[in-house]
Symmetry: C2
Subunit: 225 residues, 2 copies
Protein backbone atom coordinates (compact mmCIF):
# COMPACT_ATOMS: atom_id res chain seq x y z
CA UNK A 1 0.00 0.00 0.00
CA UNK A 2 1.48 3.31 -1.00
CA UNK A 3 1.56 6.33 1.28
CA UNK A 4 -1.40 8.65 0.75
CA UNK A 5 -1.11 11.90 2.69
CA UNK A 6 -4.88 12.45 2.52
CA UNK A 7 -6.15 9.05 3.68
CA UNK A 8 -6.84 8.49 7.39
CA UNK A 9 -6.00 5.14 8.97
CA UNK A 10 -9.30 5.20 10.89
CA UNK A 11 -11.91 7.78 11.83
CA UNK A 12 -13.45 9.79 14.64
CA UNK A 13 -15.72 12.81 15.18
CA UNK A 14 -13.30 15.11 13.36
CA UNK A 15 -15.37 14.20 10.30
CA UNK A 16 -18.41 15.83 11.97
CA UNK A 17 -16.75 18.78 13.70
CA UNK A 18 -16.48 21.34 10.88
CA UNK A 19 -17.41 24.87 11.94
CA UNK A 20 -19.15 25.41 8.57
CA UNK A 21 -19.32 23.46 5.30
CA UNK A 22 -16.26 25.24 3.89
CA UNK A 23 -14.47 26.14 7.11
CA UNK A 24 -15.36 29.85 6.88
CA UNK A 25 -15.64 31.25 10.40
CA UNK A 26 -17.91 33.93 11.81
CA UNK A 27 -15.62 36.56 13.22
CA UNK A 28 -15.73 36.69 17.01
CA UNK A 29 -17.62 33.43 17.43
CA UNK A 30 -16.14 30.97 19.92
CA UNK A 31 -15.57 27.54 18.38
CA UNK A 32 -14.71 24.25 20.03
CA UNK A 33 -12.14 21.63 19.09
CA UNK A 34 -13.59 18.51 20.72
CA UNK A 35 -11.23 16.39 22.80
CA UNK A 36 -9.16 14.01 20.61
CA UNK A 37 -10.43 15.69 17.40
CA UNK A 38 -9.34 18.14 14.73
CA UNK A 39 -11.05 21.21 13.24
CA UNK A 40 -10.14 23.33 10.19
CA UNK A 41 -10.74 27.06 9.71
CA UNK A 42 -10.09 29.46 6.86
CA UNK A 43 -8.37 32.77 7.57
CA UNK A 44 -7.88 35.79 5.35
CA UNK A 45 -4.65 37.75 5.50
CA UNK A 46 -4.62 40.06 8.54
CA UNK A 47 -7.23 38.05 10.44
CA UNK A 48 -6.12 36.81 13.84
CA UNK A 49 -6.65 33.35 15.24
CA UNK A 50 -6.82 33.05 19.00
CA UNK A 51 -6.37 29.52 20.32
CA UNK A 52 -7.38 28.92 23.91
CA UNK A 53 -6.06 26.17 26.15
CA UNK A 54 -9.42 25.89 27.85
CA UNK A 55 -8.39 23.60 30.68
CA UNK A 56 -4.70 24.48 30.63
CA UNK A 57 -3.30 21.01 30.14
CA UNK A 58 -3.99 20.38 26.46
CA UNK A 59 -1.55 20.38 23.55
CA UNK A 60 -2.81 21.77 20.24
CA UNK A 61 -1.14 20.50 17.08
CA UNK A 62 -1.37 23.39 14.65
CA UNK A 63 -0.86 23.36 10.87
CA UNK A 64 -1.59 25.83 8.10
CA UNK A 65 -1.71 25.58 4.31
CA UNK A 66 -1.67 28.56 1.98
CA UNK A 67 -4.63 29.23 -0.24
CA UNK A 68 -5.21 28.68 -3.03
CA UNK A 69 -1.91 26.72 -3.33
CA UNK A 70 -1.89 24.26 -0.45
CA UNK A 71 1.46 22.90 -1.66
CA UNK A 72 2.87 25.82 0.33
CA UNK A 73 2.47 25.23 4.05
CA UNK A 74 3.77 26.22 7.45
CA UNK A 75 7.18 24.61 8.02
CA UNK A 76 8.82 24.23 11.41
CA UNK A 77 12.27 23.53 9.90
CA UNK A 78 12.18 26.68 7.78
CA UNK A 79 10.83 28.64 10.76
CA UNK A 80 13.67 27.43 13.02
CA UNK A 81 16.20 28.35 10.34
CA UNK A 82 14.64 31.79 9.94
CA UNK A 83 14.39 32.50 13.67
CA UNK A 84 17.67 30.82 14.63
CA UNK A 85 15.71 29.33 17.49
CA UNK A 86 13.67 26.24 18.24
CA UNK A 87 11.19 28.25 20.33
CA UNK A 88 9.09 30.84 18.45
CA UNK A 89 8.00 33.75 20.66
CA UNK A 90 5.80 36.84 20.54
CA UNK A 91 6.84 39.07 17.65
CA UNK A 92 8.26 36.18 15.62
CA UNK A 93 7.09 35.23 12.15
CA UNK A 94 6.31 31.62 11.28
CA UNK A 95 7.30 30.86 7.70
CA UNK A 96 6.31 28.45 4.95
CA UNK A 97 8.29 25.78 3.13
CA UNK A 98 9.33 28.52 0.69
CA UNK A 99 10.15 30.88 3.57
CA UNK A 100 7.17 33.21 3.19
CA UNK A 101 5.95 34.66 6.49
CA UNK A 102 2.54 33.06 7.17
CA UNK A 103 1.83 34.15 10.75
CA UNK A 104 3.08 36.58 13.33
CA UNK A 105 2.70 35.60 16.97
CA UNK A 106 1.13 38.73 18.44
CA UNK A 107 0.36 37.67 22.01
CA UNK A 108 0.71 34.71 24.34
CA UNK A 109 -0.61 34.65 27.90
CA UNK A 110 1.14 31.34 28.64
CA UNK A 111 4.82 31.01 29.61
CA UNK A 112 5.54 30.49 25.89
CA UNK A 113 6.50 26.84 26.02
CA UNK A 114 5.60 25.44 22.59
CA UNK A 115 7.29 22.75 20.52
CA UNK A 116 8.63 22.74 16.96
CA UNK A 117 10.57 19.46 17.12
CA UNK A 118 8.13 16.59 17.41
CA UNK A 119 6.16 14.96 14.61
CA UNK A 120 2.40 14.76 14.97
CA UNK A 121 1.25 11.46 16.46
CA UNK A 122 -0.13 8.89 14.06
CA UNK A 123 -1.53 5.38 14.16
CA UNK A 124 1.97 3.89 13.95
CA UNK A 125 3.08 5.95 16.95
CA UNK A 126 0.43 4.30 19.10
CA UNK A 127 1.11 0.87 17.63
CA UNK A 128 4.75 1.27 18.62
CA UNK A 129 3.65 2.39 22.11
CA UNK A 130 1.67 -0.83 22.45
CA UNK A 131 -1.83 -0.13 21.17
CA UNK A 132 -3.41 -3.06 19.41
CA UNK A 133 -6.51 -1.18 18.22
CA UNK A 134 -7.01 2.14 16.43
CA UNK A 135 -6.07 5.15 18.56
CA UNK A 136 -7.19 8.68 17.73
CA UNK A 137 -4.19 10.60 16.44
CA UNK A 138 -3.29 14.07 15.22
CA UNK A 139 -2.26 12.98 11.73
CA UNK A 140 -5.67 11.46 11.05
CA UNK A 141 -7.34 14.44 12.74
CA UNK A 142 -5.57 16.74 10.27
CA UNK A 143 -6.75 14.59 7.38
CA UNK A 144 -10.34 14.38 8.62
CA UNK A 145 -10.60 18.06 9.57
CA UNK A 146 -9.70 18.93 5.98
CA UNK A 147 -12.08 16.29 4.58
CA UNK A 148 -14.84 17.79 6.73
CA UNK A 149 -14.55 21.06 4.77
CA UNK A 150 -14.11 19.39 1.39
CA UNK A 151 -10.30 19.43 1.16
CA UNK A 152 -7.61 16.76 1.01
CA UNK A 153 -4.39 16.95 3.00
CA UNK A 154 -1.70 17.57 0.35
CA UNK A 155 1.05 16.59 2.81
CA UNK A 156 1.54 15.97 6.53
CA UNK A 157 3.72 18.90 7.59
CA UNK A 158 5.42 18.90 10.96
CA UNK A 159 3.08 20.75 13.34
CA UNK A 160 3.56 23.77 15.56
CA UNK A 161 2.74 22.06 18.86
CA UNK A 162 1.13 24.73 21.02
CA UNK A 163 1.81 24.31 24.75
CA UNK A 164 3.70 21.06 24.17
CA UNK A 165 6.54 20.92 26.69
CA UNK A 166 9.60 19.26 25.20
CA UNK A 167 12.71 20.32 27.12
CA UNK A 168 16.03 19.82 25.33
CA UNK A 169 18.95 18.76 27.52
CA UNK A 170 22.51 19.91 26.85
CA UNK A 171 23.25 16.57 25.15
CA UNK A 172 20.22 16.94 22.84
CA UNK A 173 17.99 14.51 24.73
CA UNK A 174 14.32 15.44 24.75
CA UNK A 175 11.49 14.38 27.05
CA UNK A 176 7.70 14.49 27.07
CA UNK A 177 6.63 16.69 29.98
CA UNK A 178 3.27 18.08 31.15
CA UNK A 179 2.21 21.51 29.88
CA UNK A 180 3.15 24.55 31.95
CA UNK A 181 0.15 26.56 30.71
CA UNK A 182 -2.88 27.61 32.79
CA UNK A 183 -6.61 27.28 32.11
CA UNK A 184 -7.79 29.85 29.55
CA UNK A 185 -4.26 30.68 28.35
CA UNK A 186 -4.44 32.01 24.81
CA UNK A 187 -2.05 32.52 21.94
CA UNK A 188 -2.93 34.92 19.13
CA UNK A 189 -1.40 34.60 15.67
CA UNK A 190 -2.05 37.02 12.83
CA UNK A 191 -2.30 35.45 9.38
CA UNK A 192 -0.04 37.20 6.87
CA UNK A 193 -1.61 35.50 3.86
CA UNK A 194 -4.82 33.56 3.15
CA UNK A 195 -4.63 30.14 4.81
CA UNK A 196 -6.57 27.15 5.94
CA UNK A 197 -5.45 26.31 9.47
CA UNK A 198 -6.07 23.06 11.32
CA UNK A 199 -5.98 22.46 15.06
CA UNK A 200 -5.97 19.04 16.70
CA UNK A 201 -6.62 18.53 20.40
CA UNK A 202 -3.86 15.94 20.71
CA UNK A 203 -5.27 12.57 21.86
CA UNK A 204 -1.98 11.42 23.40
CA UNK A 205 -2.89 9.60 26.63
CA UNK A 206 0.11 7.29 26.91
CA UNK A 207 2.54 9.90 28.20
CA UNK A 208 1.90 13.04 30.32
CA UNK A 209 2.18 15.53 27.47
CA UNK A 210 -1.50 16.48 27.98
CA UNK A 211 -1.12 16.69 31.75
CA UNK A 212 -0.17 14.21 34.47
CA UNK A 213 -3.67 12.76 34.38
CA UNK A 214 -3.14 11.69 30.75
CA UNK A 215 -6.67 12.92 29.97
CA UNK A 216 -6.87 14.81 26.67
CA UNK A 217 -9.47 17.57 26.68
CA UNK A 218 -11.08 20.13 24.38
CA UNK A 219 -9.70 23.43 23.09
CA UNK A 220 -11.45 26.57 21.87
CA UNK A 221 -10.62 29.17 19.28
CA UNK A 222 -11.96 32.29 17.62
CA UNK A 223 -11.11 34.36 14.58
CA UNK A 224 -10.76 38.13 15.08
CA UNK A 225 -10.87 40.67 12.27
CA UNK B 1 2.95 30.03 -9.65
CA UNK B 2 2.11 26.99 -7.54
CA UNK B 3 4.70 25.11 -5.54
CA UNK B 4 6.17 22.16 -7.43
CA UNK B 5 8.41 19.96 -5.28
CA UNK B 6 10.16 18.59 -8.37
CA UNK B 7 10.99 21.79 -10.24
CA UNK B 8 14.37 23.47 -9.62
CA UNK B 9 14.55 27.27 -9.49
CA UNK B 10 17.77 27.16 -11.54
CA UNK B 11 20.38 24.60 -12.51
CA UNK B 12 23.95 23.44 -12.02
CA UNK B 13 26.15 20.39 -12.68
CA UNK B 14 23.96 18.20 -10.48
CA UNK B 15 22.14 17.45 -13.73
CA UNK B 16 25.35 15.91 -15.11
CA UNK B 17 26.70 14.22 -11.98
CA UNK B 18 24.74 10.95 -11.91
CA UNK B 19 26.87 7.92 -11.03
CA UNK B 20 24.93 5.83 -13.60
CA UNK B 21 21.79 6.39 -15.68
CA UNK B 22 19.53 4.95 -12.97
CA UNK B 23 21.65 5.68 -9.91
CA UNK B 24 22.68 2.06 -9.42
CA UNK B 25 26.13 1.99 -7.82
CA UNK B 26 29.01 -0.42 -8.27
CA UNK B 27 29.70 -1.79 -4.83
CA UNK B 28 33.02 -0.58 -3.43
CA UNK B 29 33.56 2.09 -6.05
CA UNK B 30 34.43 5.54 -4.73
CA UNK B 31 32.08 8.23 -6.06
CA UNK B 32 32.35 11.99 -5.88
CA UNK B 33 29.75 14.59 -4.98
CA UNK B 34 31.13 17.70 -6.71
CA UNK B 35 31.32 20.88 -4.67
CA UNK B 36 27.95 22.71 -4.59
CA UNK B 37 26.18 19.75 -6.29
CA UNK B 38 23.95 16.80 -5.50
CA UNK B 39 24.16 13.10 -6.42
CA UNK B 40 21.60 10.30 -6.04
CA UNK B 41 22.30 6.61 -5.41
CA UNK B 42 20.09 3.56 -5.06
CA UNK B 43 20.63 1.19 -2.14
CA UNK B 44 19.16 -2.22 -1.51
CA UNK B 45 18.19 -3.22 2.02
CA UNK B 46 21.29 -4.23 4.04
CA UNK B 47 23.69 -2.29 1.82
CA UNK B 48 25.80 0.29 3.60
CA UNK B 49 26.47 3.81 2.45
CA UNK B 50 29.69 5.40 3.62
CA UNK B 51 29.80 9.17 3.24
CA UNK B 52 33.22 10.78 3.52
CA UNK B 53 33.89 14.36 4.53
CA UNK B 54 36.87 14.47 2.19
CA UNK B 55 38.30 17.79 3.33
CA UNK B 56 36.70 17.80 6.78
CA UNK B 57 34.84 21.09 6.53
CA UNK B 58 31.90 20.18 4.32
CA UNK B 59 28.27 19.68 5.30
CA UNK B 60 26.34 16.95 3.47
CA UNK B 61 22.58 17.33 3.23
CA UNK B 62 21.25 13.77 3.15
CA UNK B 63 17.78 12.58 2.13
CA UNK B 64 16.32 9.17 1.36
CA UNK B 65 13.10 8.01 -0.26
CA UNK B 66 11.74 4.47 -0.04
CA UNK B 67 11.41 2.42 -3.18
CA UNK B 68 9.17 1.78 -4.91
CA UNK B 69 6.92 4.18 -2.93
CA UNK B 70 8.83 7.45 -2.71
CA UNK B 71 5.89 9.00 -0.81
CA UNK B 72 7.58 7.38 2.19
CA UNK B 73 10.82 9.16 3.06
CA UNK B 74 13.33 9.77 5.82
CA UNK B 75 11.84 12.19 8.38
CA UNK B 76 13.86 14.10 10.92
CA UNK B 77 10.80 14.98 13.04
CA UNK B 78 9.72 11.34 13.29
CA UNK B 79 13.34 10.34 13.98
CA UNK B 80 13.65 12.87 16.82
CA UNK B 81 10.37 11.63 18.30
CA UNK B 82 11.54 8.03 18.05
CA UNK B 83 15.00 8.67 19.50
CA UNK B 84 13.89 11.27 22.05
CA UNK B 85 16.93 13.21 20.93
CA UNK B 86 17.84 15.83 18.37
CA UNK B 87 21.24 14.20 17.77
CA UNK B 88 21.20 10.72 16.20
CA UNK B 89 24.24 8.63 17.15
CA UNK B 90 25.88 5.30 16.34
CA UNK B 91 23.41 2.47 16.94
CA UNK B 92 20.37 4.66 16.33
CA UNK B 93 17.75 4.02 13.67
CA UNK B 94 16.58 6.82 11.39
CA UNK B 95 12.89 6.44 10.59
CA UNK B 96 10.48 7.42 7.84
CA UNK B 97 7.39 9.62 7.88
CA UNK B 98 5.43 6.49 8.81
CA UNK B 99 8.02 5.57 11.47
CA UNK B 100 9.63 2.66 9.61
CA UNK B 101 13.34 2.27 10.35
CA UNK B 102 15.16 3.21 7.11
CA UNK B 103 18.81 3.34 8.26
CA UNK B 104 20.96 2.34 11.18
CA UNK B 105 24.02 4.46 11.88
CA UNK B 106 26.71 1.80 12.22
CA UNK B 107 29.88 3.88 12.54
CA UNK B 108 31.05 7.48 12.67
CA UNK B 109 34.69 8.52 12.87
CA UNK B 110 33.76 12.17 13.46
CA UNK B 111 32.76 13.64 16.85
CA UNK B 112 29.15 12.91 15.87
CA UNK B 113 28.00 16.48 15.42
CA UNK B 114 25.19 16.33 12.85
CA UNK B 115 22.03 18.39 12.55
CA UNK B 116 18.36 17.42 12.32
CA UNK B 117 16.84 20.87 12.88
CA UNK B 118 17.59 23.05 9.87
CA UNK B 119 15.80 23.08 6.54
CA UNK B 120 17.83 22.56 3.39
CA UNK B 121 18.91 25.83 1.81
CA UNK B 122 16.95 26.98 -1.22
CA UNK B 123 16.92 29.90 -3.62
CA UNK B 124 14.75 31.94 -1.26
CA UNK B 125 17.24 31.39 1.57
CA UNK B 126 19.96 33.08 -0.48
CA UNK B 127 17.63 35.80 -1.68
CA UNK B 128 16.83 36.61 1.94
CA UNK B 129 20.57 36.60 2.73
CA UNK B 130 21.08 39.22 0.02
CA UNK B 131 21.82 37.34 -3.20
CA UNK B 132 20.40 39.03 -6.27
CA UNK B 133 21.28 36.20 -8.68
CA UNK B 134 20.73 32.43 -8.60
CA UNK B 135 22.77 30.69 -5.92
CA UNK B 136 23.38 26.94 -5.91
CA UNK B 137 21.28 25.39 -3.16
CA UNK B 138 20.59 22.01 -1.59
CA UNK B 139 16.88 21.97 -2.43
CA UNK B 140 17.57 22.34 -6.16
CA UNK B 141 20.48 19.88 -5.87
CA UNK B 142 18.04 17.31 -4.48
CA UNK B 143 15.65 17.96 -7.34
CA UNK B 144 18.36 17.80 -10.01
CA UNK B 145 20.12 14.75 -8.56
CA UNK B 146 16.82 12.87 -8.85
CA UNK B 147 16.16 14.24 -12.35
CA UNK B 148 19.64 13.04 -13.36
CA UNK B 149 18.55 9.45 -12.67
CA UNK B 150 15.09 9.84 -14.17
CA UNK B 151 13.09 10.56 -11.01
CA UNK B 152 11.11 13.51 -9.72
CA UNK B 153 11.33 14.76 -6.14
CA UNK B 154 7.92 13.85 -4.65
CA UNK B 155 8.52 16.23 -1.71
CA UNK B 156 11.31 18.24 -0.10
CA UNK B 157 11.84 16.45 3.20
CA UNK B 158 13.91 18.05 5.94
CA UNK B 159 17.44 16.69 5.50
CA UNK B 160 19.79 14.87 7.84
CA UNK B 161 22.61 17.41 7.78
CA UNK B 162 25.80 15.41 8.18
CA UNK B 163 28.57 17.29 10.03
CA UNK B 164 26.46 20.44 10.26
CA UNK B 165 27.24 22.10 13.58
CA UNK B 166 24.14 23.75 15.04
CA UNK B 167 24.55 24.17 18.79
CA UNK B 168 21.34 24.71 20.77
CA UNK B 169 21.59 27.10 23.71
CA UNK B 170 19.59 26.62 26.90
CA UNK B 171 17.06 29.19 25.69
CA UNK B 172 16.60 27.37 22.37
CA UNK B 173 18.73 29.74 20.30
CA UNK B 174 20.69 28.08 17.52
CA UNK B 175 23.75 29.25 15.60
CA UNK B 176 25.57 28.32 12.41
CA UNK B 177 29.05 27.14 13.39
CA UNK B 178 31.95 25.56 11.47
CA UNK B 179 32.13 21.75 11.32
CA UNK B 180 34.14 19.95 13.99
CA UNK B 181 34.94 17.03 11.69
CA UNK B 182 38.37 16.15 10.27
CA UNK B 183 39.48 15.38 6.71
CA UNK B 184 38.42 11.86 5.66
CA UNK B 185 35.92 11.45 8.50
CA UNK B 186 33.28 8.95 7.50
CA UNK B 187 29.82 7.98 8.63
CA UNK B 188 28.37 4.60 7.67
CA UNK B 189 24.64 3.99 7.53
CA UNK B 190 23.06 0.63 6.77
CA UNK B 191 19.89 0.75 4.69
CA UNK B 192 17.05 -1.22 6.28
CA UNK B 193 14.86 -1.10 3.19
CA UNK B 194 15.34 -0.31 -0.50
CA UNK B 195 15.92 3.41 -0.94
CA UNK B 196 17.13 6.10 -3.23
CA UNK B 197 19.43 8.36 -1.25
CA UNK B 198 20.57 11.84 -2.24
CA UNK B 199 23.58 13.76 -0.97
CA UNK B 200 24.22 17.45 -1.56
CA UNK B 201 27.58 19.09 -0.88
CA UNK B 202 25.96 22.17 0.66
CA UNK B 203 26.83 25.32 -1.32
CA UNK B 204 26.34 27.65 1.66
CA UNK B 205 29.14 30.24 1.44
CA UNK B 206 27.42 33.12 3.28
CA UNK B 207 27.96 31.74 6.79
CA UNK B 208 30.78 29.52 8.19
CA UNK B 209 28.75 26.29 8.23
CA UNK B 210 31.14 24.80 5.63
CA UNK B 211 34.24 26.04 7.46
CA UNK B 212 35.54 29.47 8.41
CA UNK B 213 36.79 29.99 4.87
CA UNK B 214 33.22 29.78 3.56
CA UNK B 215 34.49 27.61 0.68
CA UNK B 216 32.20 24.67 -0.06
CA UNK B 217 34.05 21.58 -1.28
CA UNK B 218 33.44 18.09 -2.60
CA UNK B 219 32.41 14.94 -0.74
CA UNK B 220 32.89 11.27 -1.57
CA UNK B 221 30.85 8.16 -0.91
CA UNK B 222 30.76 4.46 -1.56
CA UNK B 223 28.25 1.66 -1.24
CA UNK B 224 29.35 -1.47 0.58
CA UNK B 225 27.56 -4.83 0.36
Amino acid sequence: MTFDAARPDGDNDSLKSAISPDGQPTSGERYRVPARCGVAVRLKAQQIIEVQNTHGTQVCDFWAFCEPDTGEFLSMAHTRTSLQSVFPAVGDALVSNIRRPMFEIISDTSPGVHDTLMSCCDSNRYRILGCTEYHDNCTDNLRMALMAIGLKAPAIPDPFNLWMNIPIAADGATSFEPTVSAPSDTIRMKALCDVVAVMSACPQDMNPINGVGCSPTELHFQVID
